[in-house]
Amino acid sequence: MRNKKSQAGFTLLEMMVGAAIFLVVSGAVMALLNVSQKRYKTDTQVLGAFQEARLAIDQMTRDINDAGYPPKSQFLNPATPASMYAQTPYAWSPGYVAQATCAIGACTTPSNFDLIVETNVDNNNSRNVSWVRYQLLTGTLYRGVVVKTPGVDAATATSQPGVMAPYVTNVVNNASAATIASLNNDYPGLFPGGAPLPIFTYYCDLPNNAGVGLCTGAGVNNTPNNIREVGITLIVRAKGVDEQSGDIRAVTLNGMARRINPNQ
């Protein structure tokens, strides 16, 4: 009697109600889990983009801080080979070999998506100046370092095979009109006027020590020699699209880097 009583289970109704409640609860949990999994995947990609962009901005800032080291004024003897000093903080193209500067806006480099820094990247170990180039090509920001060779065009030297290596992928500063439109839809005002957004914005020394101003402005010493500050804007999109909404996710990082070395 006692044994039978203890074996008495649930009624069918009880089981069904119990199962239904369990299903509803676990269904909700699963749905939540699914959403968070998608979020996690997308956010990981966004974070990856963030990470790459941050590293790049940090490195660019350091390179620009150091631009023009060592200046020519560190050397007394005019016979010192030009590979040992930075003739200018930034190399340019065209006209670099002839030391005929170009106006910013008309230069091939420095330009909105291309910059060559002339500096000694590790002075304790090397006595030679290098060219450090950042160039945006079809969605990937490339970085390349090559030892300076006097009498050689910096843009040509850095364009040799094996110099430039991918540094930040999925950079959308100058993406296609369709991508820009789509991004502007999700992030209103990200691309003002729907036009590509320069990575590099240049600020030049004004005449008579009057501070710095946009290099394109009037009354500005508008040459690569006089670039004092470089505004950096990197817009990097996540690798995939947002799994929930199907939108492109992008991160924008802004930086301002100042060249500390004096004018040549």
């Binding site: 008495a8 949990v29 801080n65 560190q74 010192t80 304790n124 170990n125």
Partner: protein, 511 residues
């Protein structure tokens, strides 16, 4: 019966509720953990970037603190009663075995860059890489930051130490003279007044002594290196090469009288001399400086127009006092010229009225004191002393009497008059209008050591002249008060308005 059964079955289901609760909790925790994990990744990424940037700015703050405190006129000048020899006098280099630190420990922390045995007190291993010997082999002096983290409600910058050393070819890893030898025993100098300003090697003065300036206007170059370590691991080592900017004044004569027409009336006193030999007379010494520049003329004039200013000056010297004007040129047998009165070329900042006017304005902007209107010695700053030369501009006439001695750079934009046992150690520029007059009525045995210039840059109405105008130099009475050329005092008078940064680099730091 039914009641009893129901109670019993409920009792048995108790365990199932626990299981379900545990299961649901597990799922929720998993989701929660995933979210926490994602957030944690983001914070650590942001953290790394922040540390790197914080460290960079902290090190920059250290560099700037040192650059500012190297200036003698800084209220927190590195030389004080406790460390009177932290920085050498203006224009003097540090010997290459000397090293200076400014320490900035956090509360409860020890910063000891010279203790290479301890890895936790921020040892300066970079020194050995630059100078070829461990920092323990150098003579070091230390000072603490003006904003130590351990006293003050607003935390200061978190750099650990700043090192000030004399720059050498080896320390900068720069072959200044392109001889492939990276010299480590000669301090570098920078001559901002050169046609192509550049670093240059100093003149060696024996082991343990600072090298001396290779040209009159060259100033020593210091290397300023800052280490910042931010809690959590951000670490930066940044370096400046800096040099004092001065007014780059040097003089081709003890007494320069440039201009169109000089009226000269030399002293009859047997005590009065104009001497172009560096360090002649009895000047107070400038610590660390040996007057060793080439001899200049006693009196220098410029040859403006048809007037022969040399004859004007010679005509004003009594026949028996010709030998009181000694100086360049030196004959082959080493004999000095007397009377030494010659045509000279002044610095390119002092040749025309416009240049001199610009120079006066530059000095005025950086002066310790500007007196508007006529002034006497009582208007001079009381802090001015032999150890604290100052830059003073008198915008008017200046006269000094009694026993007064001034030290530093004095600019007078009117006429100058002295009497009694007065003198000046440093530079006196009398740059006035109309006919600038220098009137001396001496007595006693004071001296003007350094250099002096009297010129007229404006007409009587205050309009800038196209060329330097007439000036008048008249000495009467007895006594000394002569003019003695002194390169040390010329340098020492030009307290630097600022230390100019010549180059900047980030050093890859391995500790």
């Amino acid at each position: 019966m039914l009641k009893a059964k129901s109670r019993k079955s409920r009792k048995q289901e108790k365990g199932v509720a626990l299981l379900i609760s545990i299961f649901v909790l597990l799922i929720i925790s998993a989701v929660g953990l995933a979210m926490v994990f994602a957030t944690a990744t983001e914070s650590s990424l942001a953290g790394n970037y922040k540390l790197s940037t914080t460290a960079r700015y902290a090190a920059m703050a250290g560099l700037e603190e040192a650059r500012g405190r190297m200036l003698p006129k800084s209220p927190n000048y590195l030389n004080d009663a406790a460390t009177p020899n932290f920085m050498p006098a203006t224009g003097i280099a540090l010997a290459t075995n000397q090293v200076r630190y400014i320490l900035n420990p956090a509360p409860g922390e020890v910063v000891a860059p010279t203790n290479l045995a301890s890895s936790t007190t921020y040892p300066d291993n970079e020194y050995a890489a630059e100078y070829g010997q461990a920092v323990t082999a150098a003579v070091s002096q230390t000072k603490t930051s003006v904003s130590p983290l351990n006293n003050g409600t607003i935390p200061g910058p978190t750099y650990k130490w700043v090192r000030i050393t004399p720059a050498t070819e080896a320390s900068l890893n720069i072959d200044v003279d392109n001889d492939t030898n990276y010299d480590n025993t000669v301090s570098l100098f920078y001559d901002a007044a050169a046609a192509t300003p550049s670093l240059m090697l100093g003149v060696p003065a024996g082991a343990g002594n600072p090298a001396t300036a290779p040209t009159p206007t060259a100033k020593p170059v210091f290397e300023v290196t800052a280490l910042a370590v931010v809690p959590g691991g951000g670490e930066k080592l940044l370096q400046y090469a800096v040099t004092a900017t001065t007014f780059n004044l040097n003089f081709p004569a003890a007494l320069s009288l440039p201009g169109s027409n000089v009226a000269f009336n030399g002293a009859n006193s047997n005590q009065w001399f104009a001497d172009g030999v560096d360090g002649s007379g009895n000047p107070p010494p400038v610590p660390g400086c040996v007057p060793n520049q080439p001899t200049v003329s006693a009196v220098g004039v410029t040859n403006a127009g048809a007037v022969n200013n040399i004859n004007n000056v010679l005509g004003g010297i009594a026949a028996n006092r010709m030998d009181h004007y000694v100086g360049a040129p030196i004959a082959a047998n080493g004999q000095l010229t007397s009377p030494s009165v010659s045509n000279v070329t002044l610095n390119n900042t002092m040749q025309t009225p416009a240049e001199l006017n610009q120079l006066v304005q530059t000095i005025e902007q950086n002066a310790d004191l500007v007196v508007t209107g006529n002034a006497t010695e009582s208007n001079m700053p009381s802090q001015m002393s032999v150890n604290n030369p100052m830059v003073v501009v008198v915008d008017g006439n200046f006269s000094m009497t009694g026993n007064y001695t001034g030290y530093g750079l004095l600019v007078v934009t009117g006429n100058f008059a002295y009497s009694g046992t007065t003198g000046w150690k440093g530079i006196v520029l009398v740059v006035g209008d109309g006919t600038t007059t220098f009137l001396g009525s001496g007595g006693g045995n004071n001296e003007f050591d350094g250099a002096m210039l009297v010129a007229t840059i404006k007409d009587a109405n205050g309009n800038l002249l196209p060329a330097l105008g007439p000036s008048s130099f008249q000495i009467s009475g007895g006594g000394g008060n002569g003019v003695y050329y002194n390169s040390c005092w010329i340098n020492n008078a030009q307290t630097p308005p600022t230390y100019k940064m010549l180059s900047f680099r980030e050093i890859q730091y391995n500790d």
